[in-house]
Assembly symmetry: C2
Homo-oligomer: 205 residues x 2
DNA sequence: AGGTCAAGTAATCACTCGTTGACATGACTA
DNA sequence: TAGTCATGTCAACGAGTGATTACTTGACCT
């Protein structure tokens, strides 16, 4: 596995060891989920002793939380969150295309969905996805996220669910042609979905 | 837990015991996933000895497969699969509404997503979701599922992904308002999505 | 009543996991 | 060079898991 770079034997560099553990753990948590990820495997990936995980992360829960915190957000890692429907559709099509996130082989949103039993972790992922929905709502241009219009938020969350579903279906099930869909192939359908869901606030009901 | 009916102590009825084990297992597999479901808990739910699981299902894998096989399909349990886009949207809105599937507290599609490590189980869920996509494609009325038009199948699978995502986001994350959305609230957005994705075969490209 | 076999139980085995405390070792400083 | 502390290793414990075997109990048949 050896997620870390292939430099020398990395002798006694706490920061590097910690980072390597974090990356190995992120990979396993994302690919296998919390339960099927064993600390022994993570330590073996890095080539380090099991007990170091306790030293740096205190427990498996701590390791999971650290990995979760180090995971890039669903949208907008470096770039800013798109500010209109068109940009949103394009960003989504890239985020959800095959070949995105080749680093771990799976989409980081999947780690959000792996239960850990800890309610603070649950709160964390809830917050992340809730924020994502509100950002979508705001980007859709329907005014500054009004308060009582749950309907528009519901529509935005349907888009969130679509993103989650695509990640899940592709990686957990491998359904084709969705699994191999490129950004170009996803662009048109996603643009139409975004428009259909978050159409301009012209009174359509 | 006691998923079985609250009749007498059910003395020596193999079929009933087997069925009760199956229901308890389905519930736990759906709610907790494969790993967090222990055979001891399942047996305790039914009030029966652990070894009976081996007798009736041979192994945990066997129990999971049996539970998976007994799970109703994503759409069309008793009723037939809808045959037009309108019916499809309506069926989806009911399937994905809050309060559907109260029996296990979660949507049965979730059990499909819980890994078991067995490749035959993987094949099973892949087939189920693939079939679902093709049924959607057929119901959309774009002819009898042409062969080379992967694009339409891709669009149908996006709808599958949406269904999966809604189930996941609602139950695993509890995101509101999506979590509490009724069929009535889901009807309009879903109809628009279905139409946007599977629009009539008028040449739009 | 007695025989017979399925239905169910109790006890245990082998294994893996997370966790832990004691110990070794390398690097830096005085 | 001796001291010191962070860095890393080692070996083991205890809990929990799925699996397995020998045993007991009840229902049904003649």
């Amino acid at each position: 596995m050896e997620t870390s770079e292939a430099d020398g034997p990395r002798r006694r560099d706490a920061a590097a060891t910690r980072q390597a553990l974090l990356e190995a753990a992120s990979s396993r948590f994302t690919r296998l989920g919390y339960d099927r990820t064993t600390l022994r495997d993570v330590a073996a990936d890095v080539g380090v002793n099991l007990a170091l995980i306790k030293r740096y992360f205190d427990s498996k829960e701590g390791l999971f939380k650290a990995a979760l915190a180090s995971t890039p957000r669903f949208l907008g890692r470096d770039e800013k969150f798109p500010q209109d429907r068109e940009g949103l559709a394009e960003a989504l099509s890239h985020q959800l295309s095959a070949g995105a996130w080749p680093e771990f082989g799976e989409h980081p949103v999947l780690m959000l969905l792996r239960g850990s039993g800890d309610e603070r972790v649950d709160a964390l992922r809830h917050k992340a996805l809730d924020e994502f929905g509100r950002q979508i709502l705001e980007a859709s241009g329907g005014g500054p996220a009004g308060e009582d219009d749950d309907e528009r938020l519901l529509r935005a969350q349907l888009l969130v669910a679509l993103g989650v579903g695509v990640a899940v279906v592709r990686s957990a099930v491998g359904l084709r042609p969705l699994r191999d869909a490129t950004a170009g192939q996803l662009a048109a359908p996603l643009r139409e979905i975004v428009d259909a869901l978050l159409a301009p606030p012209a009174d359509e009901r």
